[in-house]
């Protein structure tokens, strides 16, 4: 496996007034790996994602994408550099059909966005690619439903489909299973694992479900109060005393 560092943060920090949501995080993500970030609520995981994806500007520190400093670039620029993300709170186009949600994601990476005088339905490659992705996340048959009419589990799948369709090299998945019924979780995680195995894309995952994290990730970063508490393989993390004290103990009882 390649050891290239595709994504790196150096002393990345975000302060909201006196609150240090992220207080100097150094993160190195290898290309092609599945890297999980775990931590209790309020540890700063989502804020870290927002800093990486350009939705927030850092108070301090830098973000590097393939060695290039991308700190403070707007989300749409980062998207064109191969960084894509999903959101913890479902973030779709509610009054458009499932197909149109995904088709817009495909179109985003194409060269036709500023064509004002052509019917969008004539760009059949976007539509056929969108249908492929919809089938991949097992939403086939629901193409013409409005996104707002989907069940919560299907909305999470759509969220993933939108991300996949925009064909990023690095996927930031912010709790892809958030709010899902437990019986739906394995299917979604199978899709996530399958993505990595078949495409070699890098996945940075925030997840609460410990079973899932321990099973799928290669490396885990544990965050606590805006800082990195520990980093290592799942085995190392499971054996780390500081982590157990701060975090896993309470989780062991919850996930049982």
């Amino acid at each position: 496996m390649t050891q290239e560092i595709i994504l790196e943060t150096r002393d990345l920090a975000k302060h909201f007034g006196g609150l240090k949501a992220v207080g100097g995080v150094n993160l190195r993500v290898r290309a092609g790996s599945l890297h999980a970030i775990i931590g209790p609520n309020g540890a700063g995981k989502t804020t870290l994602f927002n800093l990486i994806s350009g939705h927030l500007k850092p108070t301090r520190g830098q973000v590097f994408l393939r060695g290039q400093d991308v700190t403070g670039l707007p989300p749409h620029r980062l998207a064109h550099m191969g960084l894509g993300r999903s959101f913890q709170i479902t973030n779709i186009f509610p009054n458009l059909t499932v197909l149109e949600n995904v088709r817009l994601a495909v179109q985003a990476r194409g060269p036709d966005n500023f064509k004002l005088w052509h019917d969008y339905r004539r760009f059949s490659r976007y539509i056929s690619r969108a249908r492929e992705v919809i089938e991949y996340v097992s939403l086939k048959g629901k193409e013409h439903l409005l996104a707002s009419a989907l069940s919560h589990g299907d909305k999470r799948k759509l969220e993933l489909a939108i991300l996949l369709a925009s064909d990023p090299d690095i996927l930031l998945l912010d709790e892809p299973t958030a709010g899902m019924a437990s019986e739906d979780v394995p299917e979604l995680m199978r899709i996530v694992e399958h993505i990595r195995q078949t495409t070699g894309k890098t996945i940075l995952l925030v997840e609460h479900n410990m079973d899932v994290v321990m099973r799928v990730s290669e490396r885990i970063t544990v965050m606590h109060r805006g800082r990195v508490l520990a980093e290592g393989t799942p085995q190392e993390i499971a054996a780390n005393e500081a982590v157990q004290e701060a975090y896993l103990g309470s989780w062991g009882t919850r996930t049982g």
Binding site: S53, H55, P74, P75, H76, A79, H80, G84, R85, F87, N91, I92, F93, P94, N95, L96, T97, L99, E100, R103, L104, A105, Q107, A108, R109, D112, N113, F114, K115, L116, W117, H118, D119, Y120, R121, R122, F123, S124, I127, S128, H144, L145, L146, I162, S166
Partner: protein
């Protein structure tokens, strides 16, 4: 045409049905002067047929203006309180160029295009930096600035200040008084062409991105769309169309008065869009017609107190047709036929 398999057969049929219905409406409107002449027994270019054409001409002009507003409000999802700026600029540019410079209509058309385009880019670059109610306030401020400018006595020589400009020398061949029938077809053709252009644009890849921004701007940006650029395109496009509506308005009324730049003119666009149905193209056009004809009927029936009655009608429309006439109709159709899925195309 659309390649096979890329579009549902159902959606295709729906599109065809729409086109057929639209064609029949256009046919009816095109024959209207002669139908009116048949009914009343008066010649198509005089009497009641002539008067009714006048009402419709006004409706066609506002139809274009309302449609342009809906590109912003219904498609892009941004609420502007300064749309009168573009409309009024079109009116004043036309009136001043005809009265003081005696330009030809073709030159004036190009001038209005250029002026409103530049205006859209400049004011869009500034006002689109803020969102929501702040955007509404900034656009309101710009439009009010133009309104105050139009009343400024310093420029009385050119603008006529608070009196406006009257007796604009419109070329004889389209004089709306002597050539009513010809002007009727000019206004109808204008509305039809603008509708077809707008339909092409909203169904283009760019048009779909604009709708995506309305639905969820953060998501659109995260996918890689530079949402500022798309909003600017929508703002400029909408502004240019409003300016052209203003041009025809000046030709029809043979005058320009500060009222066209007032906030009331913007509110009218808002009313027409809400009544007809935001996010559709036909809706605002229909809304313009409804507002125009309702205003005429109510003012004849109730005299100067008609806005009071109109207020009640408006409240009823908003209560019972929350998506406007066309919007509610579309939803009702989508629900009534369980198998008929909402079509991808927007009309």
């Amino acid at each position: 045409m659309v390649e096979p398999g890329t579009l549902d057969v159902r959606a295709k049929q729906a599109t065809r049905r729409w086109n057929l219905q639209g064609l029949m409406v256009v046919l009816f409107l095109a024959l209207f002067p002669f139908l009116a002449s048949l009914v009343t027994g008066e010649p198509p270019d005089a009497g009641r047929p002539k008067f009714w054409q006048g009402l419709l001409i006004q409706a066609y002009i506002f139809a274009v203006y309302a449609l342009s507003y809906d590109i912003l409000m219904g498609y892009t999802g941004i609420l502007s309180f300064g749309h009168a700026m573009f409309f009024g600029t079109g009116v004043y540019a036309t009136a001043m160029l005809l009265k003081h410079a005696e330009w030809g209509l073709g030159q004036i058309f190009l001038a209005v295009l250029l002026i409103t385009f530049v205006q859209g880019v400049l004011f869009g670059l500034v006002s689109l930096r803020v969102k929501g109610v702040y955007f509404a306030m900034v656009t309101l401020a710009f439009a009010e600035a133009f309104y105050i400018l139009s009343e400024a006595t310093d420029f009385r020589r050119w603008t006529g200040a608070e009196d406006g400009l009257h007796g604009i020398p419109v070329p004889d061949f389209i004089n709306p008084t002597d050539q009513r029938l010809r002007f009727y077809y000019l206004a109808l053709g204008f509305a039809l062409i603008v509708y077809l252009i707008a339909r092409r644009v909203v169904n283009s890849p760019t048009g779909r991105v604009i709708v995506a921004i309305r639905e969820n701007e953060t998501r659109a940006a995260t996918l890689g769309y530079n949402t500022f650029a798309y909003k600017l395109i929508a703002f400029v496009f909408s502004g240019v169309l409003a300016g052209l509506a203003g041009m025809v308005h000046a030709l029809w009324n043979l005058n320009a008065s500060p009222a066209v730049l007032s906030v009331n003119t913007t509110i009218n666009a808002l009313l027409m869009t809400i009544i007809g149905g935001a996010g559709t193209l036909v809706g605002p056009m229909l809304g313009a017609g409804v507002l125009q004809l309702l205003g005429y009927v109510l003012s004849r029936t109730f005299g100067p107190r008609w806005p009071l009655v109109f207020g009640v009608v408006f409240i009823l429309i908003v209560l019972f047709l929350p998506y406007g006439i066309v919007g509610t109709w579309n939803r009702w159709r989508a629900h009534s036929s369980t198998k008929d899925k909402p079509s991808l195309s927007s009309k």
